[in-house]
């Protein structure tokens, strides 16, 4: 461990906390433009979070301590998850401890907390949302793990830093398996981040909600943390996708100049990625909830294909 690794680690965390709401705002802006609307400001998520932080947090009479703890737990899980994704540099102090499987575990832990909190107050919508979230989650997680396994097979390691370092600094080789894995990862990200076509983040129709239904009872600082955590999750997934499939610009050494350089490249990649996500969301309609298993089943299938393709074509024997 050296000083720069610690610095890079802290920088990654701060970058995530700062950039995540902006990424969310950027996706919303792109969406608005594509729909011929006047876009909300880029910093709208910040304004929303700061507004919510100034408001009182109202609790239902029958809310248990779990309901109060959940926002902090969710926020911590997702902040940690965004910190262990190699966004700027692969030299992070957490990387020996936190590998790809731990990352999936962190996402799962956040999911468990939000689903339990959704059911805690006992409203019909919360339970509906939690049930749907778990349906989506249990289909998305295996697909996500398989994607990681494919990349692990390429790099012979489950450590995210090693995976990204291998992919970023290998000789130019075309990996057909990564194409399959990339498509699967995009599908999983859409589902996991409550985006169209699985969920609609802007809906006001309580019967159709998934993510929003679980957090209907939250207000004030709790809701602010959950909103922020949701944008962190989107940020973590985006960075993960960029690091695995477009790893250009992620530095191996943690010195200030290369960190600044990779920061600039990251912002550009996120801008393009956010635009693509907004495009997908604008072009598609939301699926029926029972199409979600088909959608995620396809993602899983593609992930399996990626692994098979790697074993058959790329293992070099």
């Amino acid at each position: 461990m050296n000083f720069y690794a610690l610095f890079a680690q802290l920088l990654a965390l701060v970058t995530a906390l700062i950039l995540a709401p902006i990424l969310n705002g950027w996706v919303n802006q792109c969406r608005a433009w594509m729909q011929n609307r006047t876009a909300p400001p880029l910093l709208q998520t910040y304004y929303t979070v700061s507004k919510l932080l100034h408001k009182d947090a109202l609790l239902a009479h029958n809310a248990s301590s779990l309901f109060r703890v959940a926002p902090y737990a969710i926020f911590s899980c997702l902040a940690l998850a965004s910190a262990i994704v190699p966004t700027l540099s692969t030299e992070l102090i957490f990387s020996p401890a936190a590998d790809a499987i731990a990352l999936v575990g962190l996402f799962a832990l956040a999911r468990v907390f939000i689903a339990l909190a959704g059911m805690d107050v006992g409203t019909a919508f919360g339970s509906l949302g939690s049930r749907r979230e778990m349906l989506i989650g249990f289909l998305a997680e295996p697909a996500l793990l398989l994607i990681f396994f494919t990349t692990s097979l390429i790099s012979q390691s489950t450590s995210l830093s090693t995976i990204v370092a291998t992919l970023a600094h290998r000789d130019f080789v075309i990996y057909p398996s990564l194409a399959f894995a990339g498509v699967a990862f995009t599908m999983v990200s859409l589902a996991e981040n409550a985006r169209i076509p699985i969920d609609n983040p802007t809906t006001h129709l309580e019967l159709t909600m998934v993510h929003e239904a679980m957090i209907l009872e939250y207000s004030g600082r709790h809701l602010a943390l959950i909103e922020w955590a949701a944008s962190l999750k989107l940020f973590a997934y985006s960075c993960l996708g960029l690091a695995l499939f477009f790893p250009v610009g992620i530095t191996e050494v943690a010195d200030p100049v290369s960190l600044a350089m990779s920061g600039v490249i990251l912002v550009m990649k996120l801008a393009i990625g956010g635009f693509m996500m907004a495009l997908i969301e604008t072009l598609s309609a939301k699926m029926r909830i029972f199409r979600a298993p088909e959608f995620l089943g396809t993602a899983f299938l593609l992930a399996v294909l990626a692994m098979l393709v790697h074993l058959l074509l790329e293992s070099g024997k």
Binding site: M34, I196, P197, L205, E206, M209, L216, S284
Partner: protein, 515 residues
């Protein structure tokens, strides 16, 4: 005059745009007529009650039932006893009568002899013995109270209830929906409406004819033209002052503009409910342009107060006519493009097709009318079935679909926009010159009916004046009365998240059936 070989002598009423007949009957005659009308596949238009104790001490109340006969509108009046007024239950031949009967009980205090006697418009805060449409009931206001309504319970392993509303996550009208679900599948839906009772029918009493027109235009903002025209027809029948031809053509122009505006909005929201915001934005842009031209030419975005008894309050000059023709052309092209996008969008069609289905047989059984009825092959459209001027000259084509799903209701809307644009162009080019209004003066103790095909379905206004020529009773009937129960059936076996889409495809009024 007799109908359906029933020994009831109907009296034709003069000065009505659609042929209108009235008759007084007793309970046996009423039941026999209802049976015959059901067999002949005629439909119940409206059912309402009135307080007649100042005229007849023995039979102090009356029940009025209007039917759509092949010849025109037939209204039967059943006198009810002052003491313990009761009437036979008509919900068996005509299921749509159920809620109207319960509303009669809540408003007048006359109850069906048997069958469903749960309150409908009356909520727990409104005392059981308080009947607002009785003449001796004082004005009152009641604080909100939580109520225990006797919803039908679905029992069984894994069945649970999801209550939704009347306060929703979005800014929409209040309605309570009680779903009994198994997983995501809806086993049963029961509605509880009437959360914002405004006392409009009570407010009508003792108003002048002209004053009443303003109130009738505010029964349901999205159907203000239909209500104002129906009210004006009734008022003109009472006064005997028929509007000049140009006024009728202008009214048809306004009615078709209202239809197009609402259909545009609904098509946008149907897109929005499957998360295709693109559709919402495009259709709302078109609707906004459309109603801005309303404001420019006729002085009101929704066209309120443009129709008055005796004629219309606004005229159209050559410049305005040209603006309308140009707009029809531009809108027609854009809607054709958008229809193609909707038709070819796989995700949207997947959500629309087979969702919220009402098969023609069920639609006939439930008496579904208007736009939703036409999407289930029910051929009810006053503009075609009982055309009055200018529709007898315009000859509109009825839009009919057979599938009865969300997609069919969207297709009917597209077809009606196209047809309305065609009618508007025809109206503008063939509109006769002349004056736009006659003076409508009230006549004492007279009845008049107005019957207009609004964008949702047919609106009926039954108007009666008292000895002083002021309004004695004005009943406004919204087509949503007939179609709300159909929504309960449309949702069965669909999944919970599809309900908002199905609901929007009907787009029924919460305010119209709660006066």
């Amino acid at each position: 005059m007799q109908f359906l070989d029933q020994p009831i002598d109907f009296e034709p009423l003069a000065d009505h745009a659609a042929l209108t007949f009235v008759a007084r009957v007793n309970a046996q005659q009423l039941m026999a007529f209802c049976g015959a009308a059901h067999t002949a596949e005629r439909r119940l238009v409206a059912l309402w009650g009135s307080d007649e104790r100042d005229r007849d001490s023995q039979n102090g109340y009356a029940l009025h039932i209007a039917f759509d006969m092949a010849e025109g509108l037939a209204c039967l009046t059943l006198p009810l006893a002052t003491e313990n007024p009761q009437f036979p239950d008509l919900a068996l031949p005509f299921p749509a009568a159920n809620r109207m009967q319960r509303a009669v009980h809540d408003l007048i205090g006359a109850a069906p002899e048997n069958g469903d006697r749960r309150p409908w418009l009356r909520h727990a805060n409104w005392p059981a013995e308080f009947y607002p449409l009785r003449r001796d009931t004082p004005d009152a206001r009641f604080a909100a109270v939580n109520e225990e309504y006797a919803f039908v319970r679905v029992e069984g392993d894994g069945v649970h209830e999801v209550p939704v509303g009347p306060i929703h996550a979005g800014i929409i009208e209040p309605g309570h929906f009680r779903f009994s679900v198994m997983g995501e599948n809806v086993l049963r839906l029961e509605q509880r409406l009437g959360w914002k009772h405004k006392g409009i029918e009570r407010r009508f009493v003792n108003m002048g004819l002209g004053e009443g027109a303003k109130l009738a235009g505010r029964v349901s903002g999205d159907s203000t033209v239909a209500y104002a025209w129906a009210y004006s027809q009734a008022a003109e029948a009472i006064s005997g002052a028929m509007p000049p031809p140009r006024a009728l053509w202008l009214r048809a122009l306004l009615l078709e503009r209202e239809r197009v505006a609402n259909h545009l909005g609904d098509l946008g929201y149907l897109g929005n409910d499957v998360a295709l915001s693109f559709g919402l934005m495009q259709f709302m842009r078109l609707k906004e342009d459309w109603i801005r031209l309303n404001a420019r030419l006729f002085g009101h975005r929704l066209l309120m107060d443009c129709i008055i008894p005796g004629g219309v309050a606004v005229d159209l000059d050559a410049v305005g006519a040209q603006a309308i023709v140009d707009q029809c052309q531009a809108l027609g092209d854009e809607v054709t493009d958008l229809k193609q996008i909707y038709d070819e969008h796989a995700g949207l069609q997947d959500r629309f097709l087979t969702t919220g289905r009402i098969l023609p047989s069920l639609a006939k059984l439930l008496g579904v009318i208007g736009l939703a009825g036409r999407a289930s092959a029910q051929r009810w459209d006053l503009r075609c079935n009982h055309p009055h001027e200018p529709y007898d000259r315009l000859e509109p084509k009825m839009a009919i679909e057979r599938n009865g799903d969300v997609a069919a209701r969207a297709l009917v809307r597209f077809a009606e926009i196209r047809e309305s644009l065609h009618l508007i162009r025809k109206i503008v080019s063939e509109m006769p010159p002349g004056s736009i209004g006659n003076l409508a003066r009230s006549t004492a103790d007279k009845r008049g009916f107005g019957w207009i095909e609004g964008w949702r379905g047919d609106v009926l206004v039954a108007l009666e004046t008292g000895a002083d020529g002021k309004i004695r009773r004005c009943h406004c009937h919204d087509p949503s009365w007939q179609n709300w129960p159909a929504l309960e059936h449309a949702v069965i076996d669909n999944i919970v998240p599809d309900f908002p889409l199905i609901n929007k495809s009907f787009n029924l009024s919460y305010a119209g059936p709660d006066l």
